[in-house]
């Protein structure tokens, strides 16, 4: 049974978004890390990069496969989590907290309305 924190919004492609002012923190969900298992490498976007919602902007690799991570929202990358690059297992152990990927300054705030609520995400993963 996946942990689905109630204060986050979710993308269908299994990223979460935590909003603080006009900046969002993005990571991958507990369900996603559980499906990937054994994350051994994380590649994050450069700070300053402009990304569009739905754009592949990070990669997580498990022992078996490489998976693209799609930005749930559009904007400019303002920070990335160096700790998760040094210790990719953080994505497995703390996907919603220490295992965050990047912070992004939103330029299309209305996109937040297209993201899933915790209940809807729960329905999507059949949890």
């Amino acid at each position: 049974m996946s942990n689905i924190p109630s204060d986050l919004k979710y993308a269908k492609s299994h990223e979460w978004v935590r909003l603080s002012g006009d900046t969002a923190t993005v990571g991958i969900t507990d369900h996603a890390q559980h499906e990937l298992t054994d994350i051994v490498f994380v590649e994050l976007p450069a700070v300053g990069r402009q990304v569009k919602a739905g754009e592949a902007c990070a990669v997580v690799e498990s022992v078996k496969t490489a998976s693209d991570i799609y930005s749930p929202v559009s904007g400019e990358i303002t920070a990335v989590n160096a700790a998760v690059v040094d210790n990719p297992a953080l994505v497995n152990t703390a996907p919603h907290t220490d295992g965050w990927f990047y912070k992004i300054k939103l330029n299309q705030a209305a996109e937040l309305n297209t993201l899933l609520s915790p209940d809807d995400y729960q329905k999507q993963i059949g949890g």
């Binding site: 298992t37 054994d38 051994v40 490498f41 590649e43 990669v59 690799e61 498990s62 022992v63 078996k64 490489a66």
Partner: protein, 375 residues
Amino acid sequence: MLQRTALYSAHQRLGAKLIDFGGWEMPVQYTSITDEHLAVRNAAGLFDISHMGEVTVSGSGAEAFLNSVLTNDIRKLASGQGQYTLMCNPAGGVIDDLYAYRLSVTVYLLIINASRIAVDVAWLQAQAAKFTGGELNLTDASHHYAAIAVQGPRVKEFINAVIPGASASIFHVAAVTDLQKNQIAGFHFDNHNILVARTGYTGEDGFEILGPDGDVQHLWEKLLTLGQPFGIKPAGLGARDTLRTEVCYPLYGHELDENTTPIEAGVGYFVALDKGDFNGRSILSQQKATGVKKKCVAFKMTDKSAPPRPHYPIWANGVNVGQVVSGTQSPSLNVGIGMGYVPPELAKPETQLEIEIRGRRFAAVVVPKPIYHKP
């Protein structure tokens, strides 16, 4: 519709993640590839290998026939012994790699790759049709056998309790653990005959066991129960792949294909040029004498990078020189490892290479095979 093995419902009960592997719905992992991998290296792991194919070849001509279609010398096998060998086309390209066991003077069992069963059987039948050296019966017995592999350094501590007693056929041993590497014998289990071989695909000690569906289902449960105090875990194809990559065992479709010879793949040790004629011999003999254009090397990443993966380009001195065929993060060594084909002048250990990963190149170094050694 994917084919399912006799252990399909056992995999479901264990919560396995199932994938399509060569037309079979097989477990890729139960909990974590890393945990399953380390269980095999340190204790024991249990694999379903029922998808693999079995062909029996018998008759007075069986030995001569097999020696004409396989690269290793089958005459070296006494009853109860097996060998790794390859089946080549006339150009020396590998049709399949396999294990050949001699079950009696005139009966052999071939264990072939799941993805190659149809191709292998058609090829063997075509070769058999041209064979005039004696009586020959060739049977695809793939549907008669389920199979499991139990692998790891602690397996020998509980296997005799799972399959008690002396062997009943092929070759006499007082207990399963009296089998030596590459030996095979028949044992009674639940009043049926099963075949037990001391072989595997992980670089660890262990056994591969073939039998009827019901017995293999029972064996699976009994191994998990009696192996539990020794740390046994069910292990999926994900761990099977990382384990074999660490010890550089080839996998058909990666290191081996019909356009690659055993010499190029680095398994020339299993090509017996001195045994008389066989398919591919003239090309293989020429390659052994004068060299090859590509060679399969093992490498380790030396830059911090994502794990290497199949099809990633290999570079040396600014030139794209080849391609990765197998690659992964090594759970034992915690570094990116792989195998790939490069020109022979770049095949020496300590040669510096670069692996291209998503458009960027990262340093790697050629290392001797196997990549992983038991501590």
